[in-house]
């Protein structure tokens, strides 16, 4: 019996780099394959080759035993039944949900050569039914939450009745319930014979859903094994080639005085009377289901949102923050999760990026002391182990993990006592994550206070000194780090503790 999909000797090279190196794999019908690997391991490129977004340099792709040449994403979908949900939220914000679902294919709804919108809307509702989604298809895509948009994308892909369904980091914005719903759908599809390829950094989920786990490293497939008796540690070991303990740095022995104090913070109906305090040398994590106000709280403290009520105290003194500039002046810095959009200057060098927020510290009468700049930046690059060919390279060429380090470096040079971090390890490979955890603990040890929103359970359980669980814009539960089990923590997310 022929495999649903197989690749033989698949290779993709870009000038100077072999992104996918002689990969041979076979995917059977009705099985779920979990694809894991560090950032840069080649997963995304492999997917691009399978979907037709890129063409292979060498090698063959076989669909049901016959060689296939996929020239575009369109062709991959129509001719071979390969549908993918990409990592990015690929949608057109100002167009409606319905228009996004059927973008490019509106001619199906032509009556006398004109689009009949009632038909379009009805068809879109049909599509969303697959995932039991109750979303107004007429509303603009931008009015949906990130999770809802992702679900629309998944529904769209599933509706096409693909033979091969590829999900690339599809669960990132989803809550646990939504993930479970998705997984039960995936199992349904599996029964019907769909081949599913599931890519994720969330090893726990991968192990939960996959029949087979494929590990990639440096463009090659280093392991392809049945999901039997696999542990996360073992998977990480295969990914990195070394025996790595998913060990987090030790927590703080004791913490200092209160540095930051929030009283009665109110914002629309997003933040509901929030009060918390942050001590010197402490790492406090905001936790909970997505979209409960964690990110907005961080942004509000930094001055990106106008508060409707509440006060902020820094070392006991009341401060007013209406813009990022104010926050920075008060020693509060914010590292956004949207690296490319909100943190870095892609066409400028690493050097300029790192020193941009703290230029006043090494300039006199407006003139920058270039030697000092070079020295300080070099020190920071060392401290954070930023890997770039040179500090004069533009940041757009760096990997995700290194970009995050550059952003962090930039803010570290600003100084400041309070660090607000929004999903600092989002989309970063395991090795770099570990590095970052160590760095954060080190910084706390040196007296910094860190308030961070962590979205992944392992992080929340193991890194912070205190955990503040948020739900519907309020802090509903506080745990001391290390005193709560995973089950208890997760339960608290749903407010049932």
């Amino acid at each position: 019996m022929n495999d649903a999909l197989s690749v033989i000797g698949l290779t993709k090279t870009f000038p100077g780099v072999i992104a996918v190196n002689n990969v041979t794999l076979s995917f059977k019908e009705g099985k779920i394959y979990g694809l894991v690997g560090e950032n840069g391991a080649g997963k995304s490129t492999l997917i691009k080759l399978l979907t037709g977004a890129e063409k292979p340099t060498k090698g063959k792709i076989l669909i049901k035993g016959e060689q296939a040449e996929i020239n575009s994403v369109e062709e991959g979908e129509l001719k071979y039944g390969i549908c993918a949900v990409f990592q990015d939220d690929v949608s057109i914000p100002l167009l409606s949900v319905a228009e996004n679902i059927f973008l490019g294919k509106e001619s199906i709804f032509y009556k006398n050569g004109l689009i009949t919108y009632s038909l379009l809307y009805r068809a879109s509702e049909e599509v969303l039914k697959r995932l039991n989604l109750r979303i107004d298809v007429k509303t603009q895509m931008s009015n949906l939450s990130v999770a809802e948009r992702k679900l629309v994308h998944i529904a769209k892909a599933v509706y096409k009745n693909p033979k091969i369904l590829i999900l690339d980091e599809a669960t990132a914005p989803l809550s646990r319930t939504e993930v479970e719903r998705l997984f039960s759908l995936l199992r349904e599809l599996k029964q019907k014979g769909t081949t599913i390829i599931f890519i994720s950094h969330r090893l726990r989920e991968v192990l939960e859903i996959s029949d087979v786990v494929i590990v990639m490293k440096d463009g090659k497939v280093v392991a392809e094994i049945e999901n039997v008796n696999l542990s996360q540690d073992k998977v990480v070991e295969m990914m990195t080639g070394t025996k790595v303990e998913l060990a987090f740095p030790k927590r703080a022995e004791k913490v200092g005085n209160i540095v930051l104090s929030l009283k009665g913070i109110k914002l629309d109906n997003i933040l509901n009377n929030i009060s918390l305090s942050l001590h010197e040398g402490e790492i406090v994590a905001l936790a909970g289901l997505r979209g409960q106000g964690q990110e907005k709280l961080l942004e509000a403290i930094f001055g990106l949102e106008k508060l409707d009520g509440g006060e902020i105290y820094l070392s006991g003194k009341r401060i007013d923050i209406s813009e990022p500039v104010d926050a920075i002046k008060n020693g509060i810095i914010y590292v956004s999760d949207k690296r490319d959009y909100e943190e870095l200057w892609p066409t400028l060098s690493v050097l300029k990026n790192v020193s941009m927020a703290s230029l006043n510290k090494r300039s006199r009468f407006g003139f920058i002391k270039l030697k000092n700049e070079m020295k300080e930046v070099a020190e920071m690059v060392d401290f954070l182990a930023i890997r770039a060919p040179s500090v004069l390279h533009e940041t757009m060429y760096l990997s995700g993990g290194n970009k995050q380090k550059v952003a962090l470096a930039k803010w570290l040079l600003v100084g400041g006592k309070v660090m607000l971090l929004n999903k600092p390890t989002d989309g970063i490979d395991v090795m770099t994550k570990m590095e970052l955890y160590r760095i954060l603990r080190d910084l706390a040890g040196r007296g910094k206070s860190i308030l961070t929103y962590l979205s992944e359970l392992p992080e929340v359980l193991n890194l912070p000194d205190r955990i503040l669980v948020m739900r519907e814009g309020a802090i509903i539960k506080e745990f001391k780090g290390g005193t709560v089990s995973e089950k208890e923590l997760l339960a608290s997310y749903y407010g049932s503790v």
Binding site: S91, I92, G104
Partner: protein
């Protein structure tokens, strides 16, 4: 104030067609200021002027919706008049065909370079503007040439209504262009894809939209409509001219943006662009009627337009809430 008393449906209507609200307000204000503003004669003049602007603005609107811009439309217009004035000597249809072909070719050229080489539309069309201008000037160094009378009569075929010559074809052209523009943008696959490309090009591509092809089509249409406008103008002026199209580049950009199309693309309707064109034409008419003439014609127009533009844009920003 007044707004809170308006029903939500009316408010929605007003926001979607703000230009027309402004237009009506302008007409009301003008008729208070000048005794005989709302006359058939004036309306006819406005229609005649507005048609040319609307034609050019159709292509420009599509290009801007994809996030680009076409600076060459004015030059293509001039080139079209020049070519018509040369080739119509042999045959009217040949003249029309050559003019349209030139517009199409330049549009194709623009589209290819913008989409395949990924160079900023501003720069590409700046270059092609120079080439088209140069060609126009070379072919027709001074206004002149031959525009066939049959053609002129066809375009400006009029019937007398209440003592005024009402140009039926003109009006028809305006109406048909508006309908065509609205249909393509709102009711056709191409239109949806245009908005998608302007909304988020990268994602549109990943969603399977043939982005390059969409852009090329838009620039081709832009070249064509500029050429059509050129033919129209040549019928109006009865000659070919090397620089008659120059102001139309700005006119088209003003009409498109005044009509609410965002310069970044992805938002905006052509019917509003036409409304903006009517406003521009109305301002011209008002100024002419008041008798505010200067060396260059209606220079006062410029001030009013300029301020108008800024006010409208600022207001629309406020409405959208940044």
């Amino acid at each position: 104030m007044v707004q809170s008393k308006l029903s939500p449906k009316l408010k929605k209507f007003a926001t979607a067609y703000t230009v027309y609200v402004l237009l009506i307000l302008f007409w009301i204000a003008s008729s208070l200021f000048v005794k005989n503003f709302i006359t058939l004669y004036n309306m006819v003049t406005i229609v005649i002027v507005c048609t040319s602007i609307s034609l050019v603005s159709l292509g420009q609107n599509m290009v801007i919706l994809t996030g680009g811009i076409d600076l060459s439309v004015g030059a293509v217009l001039s080139l079209a008049t020049a070519l018509a004035s040369i080739f119509m000597k042999s045959d009217t249809i040949l003249g029309v065909a050559v003019a349209l072909a030139a517009g199409l070719l330049i549009g194709l050229f623009n589209g290819l370079i913008v989409s395949k080489l990924k160079i900023e539309p501003f720069i590409v069309t700046l270059g092609s503007m120079g080439i088209a201008s140069g060609l126009a000037l070379y072919l027709r160094p001074a206004p002149g040439g031959y525009i066939s009378p049959e053609f002129i009569n066809l375009v400006f075929y009029s019937i007398k209504i209440f003592d005024v010559n009402f140009p039926i074809t003109c009006f028809l052209i305006l109406v048909l262009t508006t309908i065509f523009g609205e249909i393509v943008l709102l009711k056709r696959n191409l239109g949806r894809m245009i908005y998608a490309v302007g909304g988020n090009e990268q994602y549109a591509r990943l969603m399977g939209v043939p982005v390059d092809r969409v852009k090329i089509i838009c620039y081709c249409i832009s070249g064509l409509t500029a050429a059509l406008a050129g033919l129209y103008i040549s019928a109006m002026t009865r000659v070919g001219s090397p620089s008659v199209g120059d102001p139309f580049t700005l006119y088209s950009i003003i009409a498109v943006t005044l009509g609410g199309t965002s310069i970044q693309g992805g938002v905006g309707r052509y019917i509003n662009t036409v409304g903006a064109a009517i406003i521009v034409a109305s301002i011209e008419r008002l100024m002419n009627q008041i008798g505010v003439l200067g060396i260059m014609g209606s220079w006062f127009t410029w001030i009013v337009e300029g301020i108008f533009l800024v006010i409208v844009i600022v207001l629309s920003m406020k409405v959208k809430g940044k």
